[in-house]
């Protein structure tokens, strides 16, 4: 685009396309929003019921103290990951294709961390004392136990939330200023407040670029640290099947894998509904699919290593735990996980399938399911059969847990739908920038 007029026309088109996505919600949107909100309300009321009656309304029991809630927690933290990855890491690597996705990926991150953050509270036996997990000074001289991985979780997740929220917001400032121009009334006022007096001056851009770069650099290690810490919830324990050094890299790879899949799951319908075909192209999807394939291979490698080490160890507890996963009571879930996470993604080696959006969409959902199963299998099978055969027992999730999980999806999608109508879903200024180069 050498021609200035073309450039301006293109900029106008970008602004128009993106900002018109924020207008006039369709009936379908309202239905979607209502359904999500209803699910969320259901989840919250079930949580209330659980607080009222006690944790016994879940399916948890004696050997299996953690189940669906912690699975959900790890799942949502995992989802949160590729937001930062796509935004920050790809930004640092100057991967152009990120511009199409980064805003929704960042939004996804923030909302997924918010959703994930609910679960540690939900799974507490005495939720009303959740603040005891925070190290606040008090006259009873009670302090928290910094040796506990759960304590590390508190810090890891809250840090991650703070950084990703700031990163999300800072990246949006120029677009908010554009949005301000196209709106009236309350929204205009809102955007002008949020855009912090952005006028697009050279000085502002200079500071902005520095800050954005700095935040991207700051967020990148968090991708590794947060999920490493989450994995240590398990790896720091003594349980066979949990207590293993590969957990941190394995969980990080898994998190990026599931997060990338979630990006596809979200962006495909968004692109269709908001008609962003010009800006989010097949090439972009192919690049994302390559990340998916790569992380799938990493995860599969971890499965092999984990299994090989356990069998090679000659330790009856270790090999017992892994054989139990493979052929025990939860074998169908484990096999399902292997199919979704290791087998199906191999199809991405084929270029034609990598570039087929319907195929990618189905695949992304399968990966989401597979990764949820992975966490469930890791958590539940290790607890259900550990050291003392007398104490072995099975866990079956209860309806309340299913309902609260549904509620978490409701919460996430509700936030995401609100985001699509309230904030620019694609980074306008970045698209312009990419077009200019």
């Amino acid at each position: 685009m050498d021609n200035l007029e073309d450039k301006i026309a293109y900029h106008r088109a970008v602004e128009h396309d993106v900002l018109s996505a924020m207008k006039n919600p369709s009936p379908l949107y309202w239905v979607g929003l209502l359904v999500s909100a209803a699910c969320f309300a259901l989840g919250m009321s079930l949580w209330g019921y659980q607080i009222w009656k006690g944790m016994g309304v879940s399916g948890l029991n004696n050997p299996v103290g953690w189940g669906v809630y912690i699975t959900d927690f790890v799942f949502w933290v995992g989802i949160a990951h590729s937001g930062t990855l796509i935004s920050a890491v790809l930004f640092l690597f100057r991967a152009r294709f990120r511009s199409a996705f980064n805003r929704s990926a960042e939004a996804m991150t923030v909302f997924a961390v918010m959703t994930a953050g609910l679960f540690p509270l939900i799974h507490l036996g005495r939720t009303w004392f959740f603040f005891w997990l925070l190290p606040y000074p008090n006259q009873r001289l009670l302090w928290v136990n910094f040796r506990s991985p759960l304590m590390w979780d508190v810090f890891a997740v809250s840090t991650y939330f703070t950084i990703s929220a700031v990163f999300f917001f800072v990246g949006m400032i120029p677009d908010l200023a554009i949005a301000k121009r196209f709106h009236n009334g309350v929204r205009k006022w809102l955007y002008s407040v949020l855009s912090l007096g952005w006028v697009g001056s050279f000085r502002q851009w200079k500071h902005y670029s520095k800050l954005y770069m700095f935040l991207a650099a700051f967020a990148t290690p968090l991708v590794v640290s947060v999920h490493s810490v989450v994995s240590w919830d398990f790896a720091m324990s003594v349980l066979p099947g949990w207590h293993t050094t590969i957990f941190a890299p394995y969980f990080v790879a898994g998190a990026i894998f599931s997060g990338t899949a979630m990006v596809i799951t979200l962006v495909v319908p968004m692109r269709k509904i908001f008609r962003l075909h010009h800006h989010i192209t097949i090439d972009h999807f192919e690049s994302i699919a390559k990340i998916l394939l790569f992380t799938s291979l990493l995860v599969t490698y971890s499965y092999f290593v984990e299994f090989g080490l356990a069998l090679y160890s000659g330790n009856v507890y270790e090999s017992g735990a892994f054989l139990y996963r493979l052929v025990g009571d939860y074998r169908y879930l484990y096999w399902g996980m292997l199919i979704c996470n290791s087998l199906v993604p191999l199809t991405l080696f084929v270029r034609r399938w990598r570039r087929s959006i319907p195929f990618l969409y189905v695949l992304s959902i399968l990966v989401n399911i597979g990764m949820w199963l992975e966490r469930f299998v890791i958590i539940v099978t290790s607890l259900s059969k550990d050291f003392d055969p007398y104490a072995w027992g099975l866990y079956k999730p209860a309806l309340v847990e299913a309902g609260i999980t549904l509620g978490s999806f409701g919460f996430f999608f509700m936030l995401f739908l609100l985001f699509t109508k309230l904030l620019p879903v694609v980074a306008i200024s970045e698209l312009k920038e990419v077009a200019d180069e």
């Binding site: 944790m55 004696n62 036996g125 005495r126 136990n145 720091m236 003392d388 007398y390 027992g393």
Partner: protein
């Protein structure tokens, strides 16, 4: 508003709110220590102990009832009591929960025209009864004239001591006929055999602790037989003697059998052949002297060793070894009982056993009639049959039923036996008067129901053995409008004839005791709970004629039809009377770990033949009885033998032996068929075999030495410093018999909720200590592993708790701060022993107003983790005492509830830091190991590996 004004206003507002919150709160009261003790002697928080007697079963164990704030909180065995030696069984521990049970009868009831119970007054009930007693014609309607005079009868459970005299006096004064007493386990075969042999229809006492070889045949010594706690205690002591051997023979699998040094499976009905063989062999040796039995041995069948081996199902070598060892033993003891005397040839088994006891010189030594167990007034099922016939013929007028429940465990569904007929003819008595504490199936059929006081509310005495007198004294005031059985009889006498011999049963009792024993004895009795008197040695003579007559009559019938159904006595429910105690269902059966509901145990071979697995439902039937039950596969059970537990479910088969009047426990020609359904049974164990895991490290590999494995594990954390104490426990697996008394004691002491069958199926039982049966993968060997919080020095639970709700206290306890717990359950996940228990709900206590709560232990609310504390309240109590006396806690001063009640003294507790203490010494033993020690947790609980069974002497 300027800055100064703002600061001023803020200051005012904050000081105002501070002041207002510092004011007197409504609940604040002044705390003043007692200078003058309260008049009634009840000091809050200070417990008093009353020595009394447990009446949960007829054994008569001495118990000390702890009463705090006027409430009975716990029962514990009296240390010096000769029956139980300080211990108490699972039922005895659980029995306190009847006292405050919400279902207890609170008033007298009479049945109205519609058959509903209406509350009434005692006086009214008495007047109805006396009217009926005076109206001997038995005219029910009051209109016509019934020509036949009817007899009034009094039927009770086993009574001993003064109460028995009170019954006699009541019966005499009111013209009531006293029937032979009713018991499901009357030991009538043994008593009848001893009558034939020696002219003494008694159950002798067996001195296991004086024997060097015990040969037990079918006797369920640790479950229900005569006095299980006493037997367990004697075994506990005897096992430490190197000369002590114990061989057990049984047709099924029992807790007792699995504890024997050698256990042999005998073919059902094979006992008479075994005994014949032994008698023949003994007679060959013992030819001279006054105990020669050669002539009588001639009357026994002479099968060659191979013949005996075939009939008994034992090998020729085994039979040979048995007889050789019996002859060689200096002080042998042969006991036949349980399923072996409760079968078609039961009387013959008892007679042959008696003869063997006589021939080998056990009488007066290991078998003593001078200390005979008092079953003198107990009848048999022949008497029950007679009562049924008398009822049918319209002979019975007023029928008193005192603490008996013949219909409670059987006569429910199928069968057409005596008890069913008794039930059918029950109506034919003119007036039925039921006396008891709970509305049982029997009491439901009565016209007048008189609520009796609990033992802890009553006066009484018991004479469990010839040489022991044990007192029953009230520990608490009666809670409801109930009266003790003695008082009811005296008041009834007074109502009947206007006067009675005593004002109250207390007066009657003290009067009688004074006359018999003198005041000094009474004082000792009341303070110590019992008196033991010396008994003169007794010479027992053999009635050769009666014996010869009986020996000639024995029918050696070996046409036994398999499969055989064994109705085994249950350690938890006794004869069915303990079924109502919820705690006994909550604690699992030690062999199968099934808690609630019934099941049928089948052998692995039978399971294979039927292609059934655990929880599959089958129908089991014997002639006239049929039921559907889930299956539980029992290791060690021989092919063709099935097993259910008496009273473990609503309808157990019943029949009795016409010869002895003993209840039958072995039913031939049983049938079993698959229904295709599956029934969830709460079996608490995930697996009964080690599955290759080494919780007990040596099981399966004899030679490896695992002691001290946890030493020298690298750690980042500094070692815990223990200034004075590191509390620890040593549990001797040789001595643990799996009786589960510890679990019951723990439930009561620590206010652990009873959660019920549904939560057990969900895997949410709350027990702090559990008995894990660990069956060897091959063979029928089993070890019982009591599993409780191991109080690890490097506790995995402590590092993962984010809020320090669980932490290591300076005395080595793994402490749990309930108030701080937020309920992450991370500690439980990370516990390799899985001994932590989470409160899934707010568990409501079933008793009245939380009355059975031990006030020294807090109750945990929902969302909180709990576990064994090593009875920290007792440690605190001991420390307070020690501090007052300016000294350290002495060894043995702190005894946790589990250790206190253990009949075999398998559990030791004390300070591991001090090597001179008992635990300090035992933990250094060659046999000591720590469960899962390789993990480096360094538990404060040491186990002593079981070696006794492996050393064949």
């Amino acid at each position: 508003m300027n800055r100064r004004e703002f600061v001023r206003l803020m200051g005012l507002a904050s000081s105002a709110s501070l002041l207002s919150s510092c004011g007197l709160e409504r609940e604040t009261e002044k705390l003043i220590p007692y200078l003058v003790p309260p008049d009634d002697g009840v000091v809050p928080g200070v417990s008093v102990h009353f020595n009394t007697t447990c009446t949960e079963c007829p054994a008569g164990c001495g118990v000390s009832a702890k009463v705090m704030d006027r409430r009975a909180a716990k029962l514990e065995g009296i240390e010096t009591h000769p029956v139980n030696e300080g211990a108490l069984c699972i039922r005895g521990q659980a029995s306190i929960s009847t006292l405050y049970h919400p279902d207890r009868l609170r008033h007298p009831f009479i049945k109205d025209g519609q058959g509903d119970f209406q509350q009434t007054t005692w006086d009214n009930a008495y007047s109805i009864i006396t009217d009926a007693l005076k109206n001997a014609s038995g005219d029910k309607t009051g209109s016509g004239v019934d020509p036949k005079p009817r007899k009034h009868v009094f039927l009770s459970g086993r009574t001993t001591g003064t109460f028995s005299e009170a019954v006699d006096s009541f019966c005499k004064e009111t013209g009531v006929e006293r029937l032979p007493e009713f018991e499901f386990y009357p030991y009538s075969a043994i008593r009848e055999a001893n009558r034939i042999l020696f002219g003494r229809a008694q159950v002798p006492s067996y001195r296991i602790d004086e024997a060097d070889l015990v040969l037990s045949i079918g006797a369920d010594l640790f479950e229900t037989f005569v006095n299980p706690v006493s037997f367990a205690a004697q075994f506990g002591r005897s096992k430490k003697r190197s000369s002590f051997g114990w061989i057990h023979l049984e047709p099924h699998v029992s807790l007792t059998g699995l504890q024997a040094k050698e256990r042999h499976t005998i073919a059902p009905g094979g006992e008479i052949y075994l005994l014949s063989h032994l008698l023949r062999e003994v007679s060959k040796v013992n030819v001279a002297g006054d105990r020669h039995i050669a002539g009588m041995a001639e009357l026994l069948p002479d099968l060659l060793p191979r013949g005996f081996a075939e009939k008994t199902g034992l090998g020729v070598e085994t039979l040979d070894a048995l007889s050789r060892r019996l002859i060689r033993a200096r002080r042998p003891l042969v006991i036949a009982g349980g399923v072996s005397t409760m079968q078609p040839s039961g009387l013959d088994v008892a007679v042959l056993t008696g003869l063997l006891q006589w021939a080998t010189g056990m009488l007066g030594g290991t078998v003593r009639f001078e200390e005979a167990v008092d079953y003198d007034r107990v009848g048999s099922f022949r008497d029950v049959e007679q009562l049924e016939q008398r009822l049918e013929s319209g002979d019975i007028g007023v029928l008193f039923l005192c603490r008996v429940d013949p219909f409670g465990t059987t006569a429910g569904g199928s069968g057409s036996h005596t008890l069913v007929k008794l039930k059918d003819n029950f109506e034919k008595a003119t007036l039925r008067i039921g006396m008891g504490e709970f509305m049982t199936k029997t009491l439901e059929m009565c016209d007048v129901v008189l609520p009796l006081s609990h033992t802890l509310e009553s006066w009484g005495d018991a004479r469990p053995r010839g040489d022991i007198l044990s007192v029953v004294q009230p520990a608490v005031e009666p809670i409801h409008d109930t009266r003790s059985d003695g008082d009811v009889l005296i008041q009834l006498t007074r109502a009947y004839q206007g006067a009675a011999t005593a004002l109250s049963y207390q007066e009657f009792l003290i009067g009688r005791l004074k006359v018999r024993h003198g005041s000094a004895t009474i004082e000792k009795l009341l303070s110590e709970g019992f008196v033991k008197r010396r008994v003169e040695p007794l010479t027992v003579t053999l009635d050769r004629d009666a014996l010869t007559h009986h020996l000639r009559r024995i029918i050696y019938d070996d046409s036994h039809v398999k499969p055989v159904l064994v109705v085994a006595p249950s350690i938890r429910f006794f004869d069915g009377r303990s079924r109502g105690l919820p705690l006994l269902s909550e604690i699992p059966d030690p062999l199968t770990t099934v808690s609630y509901g019934g099941w049928v145990s089948i052998s692995e071979a039978t399971a294979e033949e039927l292609t059934v697995k655990d929880t599959d439902e089958v129908t089991v039937s014997v002639s006239g009885w049929k039921t559907a039950l889930p299956v539980k596969i029992q290791k060690g059970l021989p092919r063709g033998v099935m097993m259910i537990q008496w009273a473990s479910h609503d309808d157990t088969p019943f029949d009795f032996d016409r010869m002895s009047g003993e209840m039958m426990t072995i039913y031939e020609g049983a049938a079993i068929a698959k229904t295709g359904r599956s029934v969830a049974i709460p079996a608490l164990s995930g697996s009964l075999t080690p599955e290759g895991r080494k919780v007990i490290p040596y099981l399966g590999e004899e030679d490896q030495h695992h002691h001290g494995e946890s030493e020298g594990h690298p750690t980042f954390y500094p070692k815990h410093e223990h200034k004075d104490y590191r509390w620890g426990m040593v549990i001797d697996l040789d001595l643990c018999i799996g009786c589960s008394a510890c679990a019951a004691a723990c439930y009561i002491e620590n206010n652990i909720p009873v959660v019920g069958a549904k939560l057990h199926l969900d895997g949410r039982e709350m027990s702090w200590i559990r008995i894990e049966p660990v069956y060897a993968e091959e063979g029928d060997n089993v070890e019982f592993l009591p599993m409780l919080c191991q109080h690890c020095e490097n506790a995995p639970c402590e590092t993962v708790c984010p809020v320090y709700a669980t932490y290591h206290n300076p005395e080595g306890l793994n402490a749990q701060v309930y108030n701080r717990c937020v309920g992450t359950r991370y500690c439980s996940n990370n516990c390799p022993y899985k001994v932590r228990r989470f409160n899934w709900f707010d568990f409501k206590r079933p008793d009245d107003k939380n009355a059975t709560v031990n006030p020294e232990v807090s109750i945990r609310g929902k969302g909180v983790m709990e576990k064994c504390t090593f009875c920290i309240q007792r440690i605190r109590g001991a420390r307070d005492t020690a501090k007052d006396e300016k000294r350290k806690i002495k060894d043995g001063e702190v005894i946790p509830a589990c250790a206190q009640t253990c009949p075999t003294n398998a559990i030791h507790f004390g300070n591991l830091e001090d090597e001179t203490t008992e635990v300090g010494r035992l933990a250094k033993s060659e046999r000591a190991f720590q469960a899962l020690g390789f993990l480096g947790t360094d538990p404060g609980v040491y186990y002593l590996r079981g070696v006794w069974k492996k050393v064949h002497g």
